[in-house]
Symmetry: C2
Subunit: 352 residues, 2 copies
Amino acid sequence: MWGVTIHAHSRDSASIRDVAKLANVSHQTVSRVLNGHPNVRPATRQRVLDAVAELRFRPNRAARMLATNRSYTVGVLMTASHAYYGPSSVMSAIEDAARDSGYSVLLARPRDTEVAEFSAAVDHLIHEGVEGIVVVAPQIRAAEAMMTLREPVPVVMIQCEVADPGLSVDNEVGGELAAQHLWELGHRRIALVAGPADWSESGARTRGFERFLASVGAQPVAAAGGDWSSMSGYNAFGHLADTAFTGVFCANDQMALGFIHAAFDHGINVPTGLSVVGFDDVPEAAHYLPPLTTIHQDFDVLGRRAVDRLLSAMQQDANAATDEAFSLRPQLIVRKSTIPPVLNPPSALGSP
Amino acid sequence: MWGVTIHAHSRDSASIRDVAKLANVSHQTVSRVLNGHPNVRPATRQRVLDAVAELRFRPNRAARMLATNRSYTVGVLMTASHAYYGPSSVMSAIEDAARDSGYSVLLARPRDTEVAEFSAAVDHLIHEGVEGIVVVAPQIRAAEAMMTLREPVPVVMIQCEVADPGLSVDNEVGGELAAQHLWELGHRRIALVAGPADWSESGARTRGFERFLASVGAQPVAAAGGDWSSMSGYNAFGHLADTAFTGVFCANDQMALGFIHAAFDHGINVPTGLSVVGFDDVPEAAHYLPPLTTIHQDFDVLGRRAVDRLLSAMQQDANAATDEAFSLRPQLIVRKSTIPPVLNPPSALGSP
DNA sequence: CGACCAAATGTGACCGGTCACAAGACTCTC
DNA sequence: GAGAGTCTTGTGACCGGTCACATTTGGTCG
């Protein structure tokens, strides 16, 4: 790969000096027109623009980067895989928003949440010349790793409660909504399937959930944890099988799906034998059997907001961008996986 | 945004000449060491490497790009949104593979499949200096639009039968497997829920499906189309409700999910009242109710293979890379949504 | 030991933009 | 109509790498 250098493509495109010659001005004037500098006579400007059009000129990005030390690129640091609905939705929104503002997006994905991996990924981005970084690293360790790094460019962290001027969906409220919904339906024995302990969203959902229960003098009758996957939701049911409960909150939709599957395999029907609330409102949730009651969050807004904030921080040059924390309120979507506790086996209320 | 230029970040990093001074050699020698040029005395090389380490030097990409007219970047053109499982899985694999080979990935997403949009997106990539392009544009029109463009860099198209040296999962075989499976279970009245007509995968799946049926002297008793979404699968059921059938092939898992949901809403149970086969094997498919029999495809291999091919085409400079077409064979995964036709209402076999 | 060749290293130009500064053109005032 | 001030344009250096070519160094051989 080294050694041999291939001049792979077009060395033929027009340069700013070609345009200048054709328009009969200096290269600097062309540069001024290109950059919208005010002090150019309209006639001259037009002449230059014509030449640009005729030669199909487009400025060379590398040259501009070299000269200005600016890249018009922002980096996204994402630890989660595309398989996770939330992070990848946010990623997509970020890309769109950045493009709309004239920026390119460069993705870096550390393989794990070790500080070293993180640092390497950030270095990579910095080295590529990104002017700012959006971090979508919902694991707590990732956020912490990120906080230890002091970067020369503005950084915006999404969905990470550790960062001070955080930007996130308010997962605690989401957890509360879930608990409140089950409670108000009449459920008194409620279980929890939490997300992985190392994700901050997971903690927040659990916290909100438990906080509401506490506010009415209750607490979860049982709890298990999963890794967001349907399989782990399925397995969680096994861990909870000894306990009787009539409602369960699963920290995301996939786990809810797995949980419902497991319940079915154990002869328990949802919602008649058990009410289930999920979280995320993935597009398929409306068609699960039964259609899943869940908590909806608007990832799109989150992504766009992140880019807005990053860009404004970049404008102000300093990372003095201490915007107020911004929290999106999630929303309860009631479907058919939750009903009042009826016809439950006596044990559900009877045994400890 | 124009007019004001912000020197946002570090103009402070070391250059190749700083390294040269510290190592007491010329800048050119440093360059040689960096590029692994053979004719450098080991002692000198070591001295340079030490200096590089000490100054934490990293070559400036923009400068290299400018000088060599190479970018070490490949472009990905993707028309589908992240919500589609297949394309986003492939995208993810491409990113990993490219990174492993030392390339960055730049994403361009045309808003629609108009030739103009396409052309603009490609222009963007070219202008950013990508050395090759992977097109993940499963819509037929997108592929056609792409074919009309003659680009100065190698292009690899994924999952698009229009392109000659195509690279794809063999969706026809997948369709055949689905039909064969239903047939061998004993189903004789089989329906089809196809994907959107403008996606080539959709056509291929349908073709394979019908081809198998034809080979045993049969044909679908009814057909509807969807747009890949669960909702469209749900609606498809309504269009097929007049016809009696005991098995159905849905061209992707999400539509299968919606279809099962609709069947349930009409009092038909899967699999006892109806057998359903999906396509894709999304991670949740194993936990649908019932767990979905479906066709598995390996998107990861597809993505990596695409990058391999692109890189080799780039090596050979020319786009003379007429590799043989490469087709991944998908695989039938039998779960619980398909059983022999039993206990079906008489009408299922009786009426026309 | 000088000649000769290859290996090792150095020199300056160049890629295509932007920057700082200089210089020319044009107004306006007295 | 000369001087001051503004608007417009031009000049050459520079960013940090690589390239082509020149030069020095080291080794081998007659």
